[in-house]
Symmetry: C2
Subunit: 187 residues, 2 copies
């Protein structure tokens, strides 16, 4: 018998995928146990607070990933390059629209009220970081903020529609269009 031994940091991505696919309410403990092949005992060992603690850790984990791969680069010294990298990261992270945004999914139903703070700060920081990068590329501040908001809005919508239609091309087209619009050619 193989008995795999995990540590907390190994478990989070596994559980995250279950929440992502089933939503907060849909992700029952038994669904999590079967899909992670971890028993309830192990899960409660890692997360004594149960589902709520799991989801909170996962939101922090997602936010951390975006901070490292998207937000911090955008807030850094090479904004134009960071924007290009952002679109690569976004396309890879969401598997060209085959993977939904956990934070966006949590935002739609009452789950939002439970995790209002991390959900709000994720979107605020993304929009602010992108707006700042666009502004430092020479774009007018107000225009930059509007375009950043439009970009984040479009990504979320593209994930919804792509999954609704079962057509990842919707997402790919959206990213392509946004990539073009956020590439500042100082001509």
């Amino acid at each position: 018998m193989t008995r795999t031994v995990f540590e907390r940091s190994d478990v989070i991505p596994l559980v995250a995928e279950v929440f992502r696919e089933l939503g907060y309410e849909g992700a029952s403990m038994s669904a999590i146990t079967t899909r992670t092949s971890l028993s309830k005992g192990s899960l409660y060992h890692f997360f004594p607070g149960g589902k709520e603690e799991m989801a909170r850790e996962i939101l922090a984990h997602v936010d951390g990933w975006f901070a490292d791969h998207v937000f911090k680069p955008l807030e850094g010294t090479n904004p134009q390059h960071a924007i290009t990298l952002m679109w690569d990261s976004v396309d890879a992270y969401f598997r060209s629209g085959r993977r939904v945004c956990l934070v966006g999914a949590f935002a739609l139903d009452e789950t939002r009220d439970r995790f209002a703070v991390p959900i709000k700060s994720y979107f605020r920081r993304w929009i602010a970081a992108l707006a700042g990068a666009l502004a430092r590329c020479g774009m007018n501040d107000v225009v930059a903020h509007r375009l950043a908001e439009e970009a984040v809005v479009s990504i979320q919508g593209a994930l919804t529609v792509a999954r609704a239609l079962g057509d990842s091309d919707v997402f790919k087209r959206t990213v392509k269009r946004l990539r073009k619009r956020t590439t500042i050619t100082s001509s």
Copy 2:
């Protein structure tokens, strides 16, 4: 004691609002009973198939509303006027972003698999109807389809981000921008 007597058509909008706020999994029968002030007995009288039948009826009801107020006008003889009306209807229906899209919410988690057909056809028809209207306003077919897709994507994303930030202005700005972009000035 007041005993209100309903018929099926009265119940659907009430239950719809519960699904919209709590999601399919989150909308438990007890949540539906308390929020509609209808007992389980009454609900199962109207919907012998339980939650699944309720959700199916609600999806049909939403689709019917959009057919009457959005799709059919777009498919009709006055496309430019229909597009203007669409933005009025969309803004009113989603309460300027304070009300989420039930179909979009269902699309994100595994609920999509259960209701794949109605979810898909809702978005397909919306995009196709808007694309057709834009084309009949003189826009190139391919461009019209891309813009229609962009519009529906943006609406869904705006609902997500508006709710995430608790800021309906995101939605209002999005509608304003799309309204402008879909107004063809044959100059």
